[in-house]
């Protein structure tokens, strides 16, 4: 069975999704979803271990070897991304039970868990497949399930938010499939490894140079739309604000991360660093956008009055850091981007989950409604502060590790300007996190005694992520080692 583990990682959640829908009752569907998520987590960890010792794992679906068939290809990067997705899903599903029961009407619970499992399956599929069309298929699976999960939010505006995301997401997916189509026209293949071999040939022959360049552009725009890189982020704030709390926590920590992974996969594996950076001058495009994202979105975040919305804009800014790492194009820069995938997943997941706890107790996440919560819900707000410190980048948290690597990568290339902007971004994070803390701890409310602490089933998952964000901030050896060797794999520098 163990040789089938790469397939099982994807198809177990996929099979459990219709089963959850068929059970059609809240409790059993949750059990199925939890089982699927934890199984996937175990499988992903085992695969990462195996990749670390044995190297790349290749699995041919249906016994047809690539490029004729579809292969799953798990290297360091994909294994790391699957661990990120599944760990958040495993924590998120525990959190979901109470939160979903509170925010979504009873008869839709089973469908919610089915959509959740499909989303996990789609994201994992994107992460491990070695076939570009298969990427598109899994992208649609994960996106469609995401739209429906967002639409389940109890605020009616969730419907328009989901619809907006649907339109933007479909435009992105269409761009991606056009890009894939153009590549297929020029090379006659869909396998990533095969493409990586043939694109330089076509490019060198000079005939298909323009088509390849257009394909590259379509793919870049499509994927950056999906990952909400400034200025293509417009769908994200509403989607995160009005989605059910459990969905926001899970999605903010996973789906954009997988899209960043996909961006790296296309840039470095399929097109190759030389094409992306020398021919297309990607760094000239991505770096300014990333820097503007960090500054402008942090600034917008400061002026938000709804904390979920504030955190959503902060997410767009944080995506800027990841893309900034990629745009540096060096091993250190890409490693900083990859490590920030994991670190940001932990802290943003924790922050949104803490807001879910607040939502559960007081039914609002507006800043002015959070007066006195530091006293009324000490554990929840402490979790917010803990994860918030990480967002600012205080030493001993994961946020510090990310920024440390990012600044190092920038300085290694002599970009003092970039390093300075990273620092300014941290200061702005301090401002918007502090805004919440100030209201929660330094203002009083009358009904302080009536508000209870959030239930343990919400607090434990939240604190699990907060604890992890400190753990991996203090003991960053494992994650940074994995991230650096993942970056080396991507850039083709073998240690």
């Amino acid at each position: 069975m163990s040789q089938n583990l790469p397939a099982l990682l994807v198809v177990v959640p996929m099979l459990l999704a219709p089963i959850a829908a068929l059970l059609n009752r809240s409790g059993p569907a949750w059990v199925v979803a939890a089982g699927g998520s934890w199984f996937a987590f175990g499988a992903a960890v085992q695969l990462l271990r195996r990749v670390m010792t044995e190297g790349v794992i290749v699995y041919s679906l249906g016994g047809w070897a690539a490029p004729i068939g579809i292969e799953y290809r798990i290297d360091m990067v994909s294994a790391f991304v699957t661990v990120i997705v599944t760990s958040i899903a495993a924590v998120g599903v525990i959190y979901a039970r109470v939160s979903v029961a509170d925010e979504i009407s009873e008869d839709r619970h089973a469908l919610f868990y089915a959509a959740f499992l499909l989303n996990v399956c789609g994201l994992l599929g994107i992460a491990i497949t070695g076939d570009v069309f298969n990427v598109f298929v899994f992208l649609e699976i994960s996106s469609l399930s995401a739209y429906s999960m967002i639409a389940l939010g109890h605020d009616r505006r969730a419907l328009t938010a989901a619809f907006q995301y649907l339109i933007m997401g479909s435009v992105g997916a269409t761009f991606i499939v056009i890009g894939i189509g153009l590549l297929f026209v020029m090379t006659g293949t869909l396998g990533m490894m095969d493409l990586a071999q043939r694109i330089p040939e076509v490019w060198a022959s000079g005939e298909g140079d323009r088509t390849i360049a257009v394909a590259f552009t379509f793919l870049t725009v499509g994927v950056t739309l999906k990952l909400a890189l400034f200025p293509l982020h417009l769908w994200l704030p509403n989607a995160y604000t009005y989605a059910p709390s459990a969905v926001t926590g899970y999605m903010a920590a996973t789906s954009t991360k997988v899209m960043v992974y996909l961006l790296m996969r296309f840039f470095f594996t399929v097109f190759g660093e030389q094409f992306s950076f020398d021919r297309m001058q990607l760094d000239m495009v991505l770096m300014p956008l990333a820097l503007v994202a960090i500054l402008a979105m942090s600034l917008v975040a400061i002026y938000q009055t709804n904390v979920k919305r504030l955190l959503a804009f902060s997410s767009v800014a944080q995506i800027g850091y990841m893309v900034l790492g990629i745009s540096l194009g060096s091993v250190l820069g890409v490693a900083a981007g990859i490590i920030h995938l994991f670190n940001h997943a932990l802290m943003k997941g924790a922050l949104f989950m803490a807001m879910g706890c607040v939502m559960y107790r007081i039914g609002s996440v507006r800043i002015e409604d959070m007066k006195g919560l530091g006293k009324a819900m000490p554990w929840t707000m402490a979790a917010f502060v803990g994860a918030g410190l990480s967002m600012i980048g205080v030493p001993l948290t994961v946020g510090f590790i990310s920024k440390w690597y990012l600044v190092q990568a920038a300085l290694a290339q002599g970009s003092w300007f970039v390093a300075a902007i990273v620092m300014v971004g941290s200061l702005m994070a301090l401002i918007y996190i502090w805004k919440v803390i100030e209201v929660a701890y330094f203002e009083r409310r009358e009904d302080e005694d009536e508000i209870q602490e959030a239930p343990l089933s919400l607090l434990v998952p939240t604190w699990a992520l907060v604890a992890a964000s400190f753990w991996f901030g203090i003991d960053a050896g494992t994650t940074s080692q994995v991230a650096i060797s993942a970056a080396e794999t991507l850039l083709g520098v073998m240690p």
């Binding site: 829908a21 679906l61 016994g63």
Partner: protein
């Protein structure tokens, strides 16, 4: 539509042929054009036609929304079931050559395997199509 005799009789005559044609497209799918998706849509078209002529209420009696819901989920289970079966028999996921015993000609496995997964596609597409139609046809939410 009680007075539209031609429509009613025409629908009654056509329905079985539409269903048979769907199955034809389905079983044609492994060698020629066709396959589960088209077959599922055609199969659902028979029910849509029935609902248009005899009314939503009668159609729901023939094909309750719950059944459409179950079909939508069951098809995925059938599809993946074929994949799991080939995996349990020692092959890769969806490697149909392993579906039958080793002494059997593996092409038979390939043949029935593809029909099996196309059947899954048919069932899901059919269920979802009918459910979509019900969702748009009925103003109120139809409970599953």
């Amino acid at each position: 539509m009680d007075d539209r005799v031609i429509l009613r009789i025409g629908t009654k005559i056509l329905s079985p042929f539409i269903l048979i044609f769907a199955l034809y497209v389905q079983f044609h799918g492994d060698y020629g054009p066709g396959g589960g998706f088209q077959a599922g849509v055609i199969f659902a078209a028979a029910f849509v036609l029935y609902a248009l002529v005899f009314g939503l209420g009668n159609a729901i009696k023939v094909m309750p929304p719950k059944v459409a819901y179950i079909c939508g989920a069951m098809g995925v289970v059938i599809y993946l079931g074929v994949g799991y079966l080939s995996m349990f028999r020692g092959g890769e996921f969806l490697n149909y050559s392993y579906l039958f015993d080793p002494e059997h000609d593996p092409t038979h496995g390939q043949h029935y395997g593809i029909i099996g997964i196309e059947l899954g596609v048919l069932v899901t597409v059919f269920g979802v199509m009918v459910a979509l139609f019900y969702a748009f046809a009925g103003r109120r939410r139809i409970d599953t």
